[in-house]
C-alpha cells in the first residue's frame, strides 16, 4: 500500500492530519464545535455544485467553506440565533443534494463527499492542497499566542485590544473562521464532510486531557491526528471500507482514552497526595 498512486494519498493524508490536529486544537480551545460542524456542511454544497459544473472540486469547496464561515461570523455578530444558522446550513445541504441529483454521478459522489475516500485527493490536486495546508499551518503558528490568550481569557484580550490597534479580538475571530474554512476544504475530500468534525475534536480533546502544557498539547494533538488518519487510510485501503468510518470510530476512541487517562491522573493525585493543592483548597467561586 505504500507505492504508486498511494504515495500521493499518504502525503495528502499527512497534510490533512497536521492541519486537522492544529486547527482542531483551537476549535476545542474556543468551543467552536458548532462552527466546525457547520462549515463542512456548507462546503459540501460547494463541492456538489463544483462537481456539477465540472469545476475543480477543491475550489468549489473552498469558496463555499469560506462563505459559510464568514456567514456564520456575520450572522452571529448581528445577534442571530444558532437556530437560524442551523437552518441556513440545512438549506445549503439540501442545495448540495439538489446539485448532486442533477449530475449523473449521484451515489458514489455523495458518498465520497460525505464519508471520505482514500483517493480523495488525486495527484493533480496535491500541490494546491499542500499550499492550502501550508497557509493554514503558518497562520495558526504565527497567531498561536494571541489565539491562546483570546480563546482562554477573552475578557482580558478584549480589554487589551481596545487600547491598541494591533490584533483586535474581532479580527482574530474572523481570521480563525477563515482558517477553519480552508482547513475544512482541504480535509473534506479525504475524511468526508460529516467526519471532519470528529478529526478536529477527538485528537485535541485527547491531547489536552494528557498534558496541560499548551505547546505540548498542540503537538500531541497533531501527533494523535496523524496516527488516526494513517490508521484510517490503512484500514480503508486494506478492507476497502470508507475512510470516514475509521476516522469516526478512532477519534471517539482517542477521546475516551484521553478522558480515561485524565481520570486516572486525577485519581492518582488524590490518593498519593491528600494534602495537595487540588484537595486542600475548596473552590470558592462557583463554576457555572
Amino acid at each position: 500500500m505504500f507505492s504508486g498512486f498511494m504515495v500521493g494519498t499518504w502525503e495528502a493524508a499527512s497534510m490533512v492530519a497536521v492541519v486537522g490536529g492544529l486547527v482542531g486544537f483551537f476549535v476545542v480551545m474556543r468551543g467552536s464545535a458548532f462552527a466546525a460542524h457547520a462549515v463542512p456542511q456548507g462546503a459540501f454544497a460547494g463541492a456538489a455544485g463544483a462537481s456539477l459544473l465540472g469545476l475543480n472540486v477543491i475550489l468549489g469547496l473552498g469558496v463555499f467553506a469560506v462563505l459559510a464561515a464568514l456567514g456564520i461570523g456575520w450572522l452571529s455578530r448581528r445577534g442571530r440565533h444558532d437556530v437560524v444558522v442551523a437552518l441556513m446550513l440545512v438549506a445549503l445541504l439540501a442545495l448540495g443534494s439538489l446539485f448532486l441529483s442533477w449530475s449523473t454521478q449521484y451515489e458514489p459522489e455523495i458518498f465520497g463527499l460525505l464519508f471520505g475516500q482514500v483517493l480523495g485527493v488525486d495527484r493533480s490536486n496535491l500541490v494546491p492542497t499542500a499550499m492550502l495546508a501550508a497557509v493554514c499551518v503558518l497562520v495558526i503558528l504565527a497567531l498561536f499566542r494571541p489565539l491562546l490568550l483570546a480563546s482562554a481569557l477573552p475578557e482580558i484580550a478584549d480589554a487589551d485590544s481596545s487600547r491598541t490597534r494591533w490584533l483586535r479580538t474581532g479580527s482574530l475571530e474572523l481570521i480563525f473562521l477563515v482558517v477553519l474554512a480552508l482547513a475544512t476544504s482541504l480535509t473534506l475530500p479525504v475524511v468526508g464532510a460529516l467526519l471532519i468534525f470528529s478529526l478536529m475534536i477527538g485528537p485535541p480533546a485527547a491531547a489536552r486531557s494528557i498534558t496541560a502544557n499548551p505547546r505540548a498539547a498542540a503537538g500531541l494533538s497533531v501527533g494523535i491526528a496523524l496516527a488516526t488518519v494513517w490508521l484510517s487510510i490503512a484500514g480503508a485501503y486494506r478492507w476497502n471500507l470508507p475512510v470516514g468510518f475509521f476516522v469516526g470510530v478512532l477519534s471517539a476512541a482517542c477521546y475516551l482514552l484521553g478522558r480515561g487517562w485524565a481520570f486516572c491522573r486525577r485519581h492518582a493525585r488524590r490518593v498519593s497526595a491528600p494534602g495537595s493543592v487540588a484537595m486542600a483548597s475548596a473552590p470558592e467561586w462557583e463554576q457555572p
Binding site: A35, R80, H81, V90, S101, I110, L195, I201, V247, Y255
Partner: protein, 313 residues
Amino acid sequence: MSGVWATIFQPGFFASDEVRTALIVGGLVAVVSGVVGVFTVLRGQSFAGHSLADVGATGGSGAYLLAVPPLWGFLALSVVGAGLMELIGIQRARSRDLATGIVLGAALGVSALLLYWDTTWHSSNGQAMTVLFGSIFALSESTIPLVVVFSAVSLVLVVLVYRPLLLAGLHPDLARAQRVNARLVGWVFLAALAIAVALSSIALGSILSTAILIGPAATAVRLTRRPGLAMLWAALIGVLAMWLGVLLSYDSYTWPPAHHGWPVSFLVVALIVTAYLAVDLTSGRRRSRHRPDRPPVAAAEPDEDAIHAEWVA
C-alpha cells in the same frame, strides 16, 4: 380553468399511490415535528435534535442491512441516543457539546460502514441517498400505520408534559416548588423528540430532518409568543411546506435540467427556509450579540431566554 388545474396538479397526481403515501406520511410528520419542534426551539435543544438525527442515521442504515423497515432502525437508535444524551447531560454545557459531538462522529462513522455494506452486499443502489436525504416517494404503504402510531405516541408524550414543560421554562423555581421533576420531564420530552426525529428522518432523510423540526417552529415562535398557538402555526407551516414540496416535486418531472424531477427533500427544505426568512425579515426584533464561532450556552441561549421571559401559559 382546467388547464390551470392540470398545470398545477400534473396528471396522475391524485391517482398515484406513492403520492398519497407521501402526503399522508408527510402531513403527519409535519404535525409532530411542528409540535415537538416548538418546545425544542424554546428549550434550546436544537443541537440535540440534530445529533439524534445523525445517530438515527446509523439505525436507518442498519435497518436496510437487516432488511427491516427503516423506521424501526431510526427509532431504535434515536431513543438509545436520547438516553445517552440524558446521561451525559448532567455535565457542563461545553464539555457536553464535545462529548455529544464525539458520539455523533462515531455513529456517523458506523453509518458509513453500514451504508457501504448496504451497497455492496445487497447491491441496492441509493441507500445512502435514502437514509441521508430521504425519499418520501419511496415509502411503502405499510409504513403508514407505523407512522400513525408513533406520531400519536410522540404527541401524547408532549401533551403529558405540556404544563410541566411550560412551567419549567417559565419559572424553574416555581416548578421545583410544585414538585415537578425536571429530570423526568426532560427525559420524557427527549423521548418525544427522538420519535419526532426518527419520523422526520424517514420523510426527509436524517441530514435534512432538522429543517422540519426547527424551521416551522422557529417561524411560528417569531409569529406568536404563546406556545400553544405557536404549535398550531408550526404544524400548519410544516404541513403546507410538505404538501407543496410533494406537489412541486411531482410536477418537476419535466423540468430542466435533468428531467427526472427535483428532489422532494430539497423542495420542502427550500420552502421552509423561505417561510422563515419571510417572517424573519418582516419583523426585525433586536437580538443579543455572542461569539461568532460558537453557539450561546446550550442550556440557556440568550435569545431563548428572552422568549422564556415572554412565555404566556
